[in-house]
Symmetry: D2
Subunit: 342 residues, 4 copies
């Protein structure tokens, strides 16, 4: 059975695996202080156009979000996020586990709007009881969003401007960063994104790696004891080169972008198939996640031949079905889907 | 200047103070294990019609909410609350500080609706990824709500039924419990409320006491080590009789209810004044908090003679002004307000 | 039965109670921003000789320790304390509840030794793996200690010097501060103590008040959002004047010191009685807590007529019995003890 | 330069790497619900002689300890550990980060003694103020210890007996489990260990894997929502097969034991070299960590040719140097050390 269930039910891409094999006996310095991690950081700094960026490698997305957010907040501060944000709904309370509140704003197609953020912060600043409330200490957005949508360059700039007006840093969750950057119509480059936030992470797990995410502090404002905070979170691995080696491969010869581009190409072929068959979409996504509305019967029937996931319901009779491609999706799998859709 | 700013800018009512004075030299057992606390608990059990209720005294509302909620949740569980709920907006993140998420639902006039709760829980139960989400472990409502509104007996029953269907306990924040129970049109009695939840607290600070809240577990399901949890929260005071003595007075000769009734009488006089003068209300509150919409100029002018608080804005030119009465509000103060309103 | 069980099984001293009664109808500003609290702070600043000290009122000792310590530490930092320190043994893990480790050092008669602290910090600084350990962020001592012993002026100065050498602040828990300051042989004054630490608290609960402790930041280094942290801890009471009024009374006409002096006088009479009868002491305490070694039979027999507490055992057959006086202890009670001891 | 600095400065053993390569394209179910993880669990259950054991895979040691301990404790409980225990000194406060206290006992050569544990628990149970203290909720020991020492079968049995007497579970940190099990003179087998504790973990990172630890609950008492707790800790990786595949290899054909045996053989050769040269040892370790006392000059000189770590000092002039072998240590490296020692 073909699967479009998610973008993490596969192994590593070949070049990543090869790099692990090649240097398996290299005896690297532990805890991420090895030469491969250093090289990987160098490559990422180059790709971001930020020669001074501070970079840390962690293992997975939830861990990266909780550790990074916790490192940036004072104890009485919370993080602002749209209600549909990943940290708010799918991370088992990992942020609250670090004692910080997630302050939620309404979203538009999964995105935070600069004006909504501005209104919230303005109200907060003028609230006579603000010391009885959680202080907003960080803004969190995802690129792409949970709905596969993207901020335009203008939208990101506006949000960052609001953040700067209130002196609150901006953090971008890039679990699927490559799939956003390589999407049709996207007008944000990696250097542009890096210049319009204070910290972001480059997702490896969903794009070619076995595990691993790279947190990039753009302004040299990483907590000076980030390592200890990482350790306290159980987020340091002894053999740090495991992640360094993978990112070195991903950021050599633009592999990360090529893998992402491929996934997008497959997603657009898939999207076209659904359009051609007259299906409606829950949201118009230019990225590797497509949200198709099927009536429950169709969904049930299709699920016998294709793996996908249920994202919700539009009404009692219709299901929002999520179909996801990845760097590992093949043309043959899309062909097969085409056959099945008939 | 007269003040309707809040219901906690005064001392204790005379009977409460007298009881403190009378037994000042009694050498009570510390940490709340004294005879006065025992007697107070007895009186409260009688008033609730629950001879077996487990009762604990704490100092203030935020402390009581955080300690009680934390005691009822497993680490991976969160508490469900409407977005406008006190724990979500005015307690400085005290619940998240205990590592628990507040899961927010939309409210209707400050109230949680049984059908909205049911829908949320039903969706949660059917969510294939529910183990990646925070588990709902408790439902929190306030009586009266932040907007001064009240649940009807039917509404409370319906919410509790949903809770029971999903085996999730219900907790009622009664910071202003008396002001709700004695409100015009309220059809909930203390025993009824006690039978339709698993735990609630009776607010003392806002109704006659200097400090102190009484947590009542209705079903003998208080955590067996509630005392240690209370201590861990810094919520045990050495001279526990300070609170016991106050509640003994409040629950002798129905004092708590009489104090509350008086505040409601004053609030209704005040409400009538505003109605008579043609003011609009943000919400129709039968309790001691009245939310009047004034244009900004009116609000500014009135604030020179009367203390009240700003609750928000309906538009750029209109402010929602909160006027609060308490057990300590006098007829003279309302007369004075009448004169000022002209 | 007479009781020397503890110094918190009584009400308030008369002047404190009178002040509460006198201003009961004063309608003070809530949350501690009232004039009485301001006046109390002024009196305390005078007594400390620190016109700029930042002062906050909290309700009880455990709450005060947890809130103050948490406010002074970064998330990856811990607090250094002797193993017998109150926060380490009798506060139900309230410090760890705020996610901070207590790093324990061995004590000498309940006291931390400057050289032991210096050795620990020196080792830490030279530890190649120090980023894998909890960073020491605060030093906590008690005055008097759990054993009723006192630091000399020289000892305190030496500890503070070590703290300053390593740029780690010093916090003094003064739950029984007055009983230390007024002890025979003590060579530390309140201003001296205030100049030799960064923050300390003046215990009210055990010395004349119903509840309340005053945290004094000596160097204007209180966290700028201490109020929000206090609120987050559930450590703000709505009617803050309750504590302000008590401290105003305690720091008017040196009441705090007179109450303490009386307790010490009673303790010394008691001590002499035990000495005269040939009892041994577990430790030589100049303060209001006396630790007498009784054989188990004696202890059992005495406990029928006098209340005291068990502090531990020196061997199977001997119990360390703690006898405590307070401001409320009367000459008659000591006379009665004398009769009982025979 | 040859390195005996630690047992985690290398890659994976060949069979582990081969298994990852072989199944790289297998499209496993995410989050650890894949067939490889299932197979690995099956193999581990067989090796433990526990057909019903509940097994979870995590990434590293600190994470495993914090997650497992947190899952087993109520909020008011702490974990008992010797002062030198890894969680107490080298995990950056990761346990306290979950709000639990580490209650420390003195050790004997890194080991907890049954009688010391028994005394502590007995005292606790008889402490009249025990509700003001942290409740002991778990006992934590390491096998081997931080000093490379081992519990005998008798010693482990005695400790477990004490735990059972007080109904407190026992958790064994097996970061270097294999190196303990295969040590000369060890009389504990894996099944014996599994029968004498409630939960333990089998360290993979230090014995053949790139990352990964296997937590084994022996009595079917894993928290029913362990997965959610794991997620909340940021301790779930999306591609769980990464760990499953490694443990499948390690527990096929006794690889885990063979790798461990090799490390011990190398360690014993090394130990003999040091003995032959007349060096003293800080402790007599039968496992892969050897603690040799060098005078500072010797240490400095040796460090130019051999990597090892500093463990502390016996006096100003002597350093405790830790030399560690692993599954990856070669005979050639020991030969080289022999040459260097001269």
């Amino acid at each position: 059975m073909i699967s479009f269930e998610c973008d993490y039910n596969n192994g590593a891409c070949q070049q990543v695996l090869d790099n692990l094999i090649r240097h398996n006996n290299a005896k690297p310095t532990p805890y991420g202080f090895d030469e491969f991690s250093e090289r990987a950081k160098h490559c990422i700094r180059e790709a971001c156009g930020l020669p001074d960026a501070q970079i840390f490698f962690l293992t997975g997305g939830t861990q990266t979000n909780a550790t990074t957010i916790d490192s940036m907040l004072y104890q009485y501060e919370g993080v602002i996020c749209v209600g549909s944000g990943h940290i708010n709904v799918h991370e088992a309370g990992a942020v609250e586990f670090t004692e910080h509140k997630i302050i939620t704003l309404p979203d538009y197609q999964g995105k935070m709007e600069a004006k909504v953020l501005d209104k919230y912060l303005d109200d907060y600043m003028h609230d006579g009881n603000k010391d009885h409330a959680v202080h907003p200490g960080l803004v969190y957005i995802t690129f792409p969003t949970e709905f596969g949508t993207l901020y335009s360059a203008k939208e990101l700039k506006d949000i960052y401007q609001v953040c700067q007006n209130y002196e609150i840093p901006l953090y971008i969750d890039g679990a699927r960063l490559g799939y956003g950057l390589m999407a049709d119509g996207n007008d944000i480059t990696l250097p542009y994104l890096a210049r319009h936030c204070d910290v972001f992470y480059i997702g490896g797990t969903k794009i070619g790696a076995l595990c691993g995410e790279a947190v990039v502090f753009t302004n040299r404002k990483a907590h000076k004891h980030f390592f200890s905070i990482q350790k306290q979170h159980g987020a340091v691995i002894a053999k740090g080169a495991l992640i360094g080696l993978q990112f070195e491969a991903l950021f050599t010869d633009k592999l990360y972008f090529k893998l992402s581009e491929h996934a997008i190409k497959m997603a657009m072929r898939m999207k076209e198939l659904f359009i051609r068959k007259g299906f409606e979409f829950y949201v118009d996504s230019p990225t590797n996640q497509q949200f198709v509305i099927l009536d429950n019967e169709q969904a049930e029937k299709l699920s016998r031949k294709v793996e996908f996931s249920h994202f919700g319901q539009t009404d009692r009779h219709h299901t929002i079905c999520r179909f996801v491609t990845s760097w590992a999706t093949t043309e043959e799998e899309i062909d097969e889907l085409e056959k099945i859709l008939g």
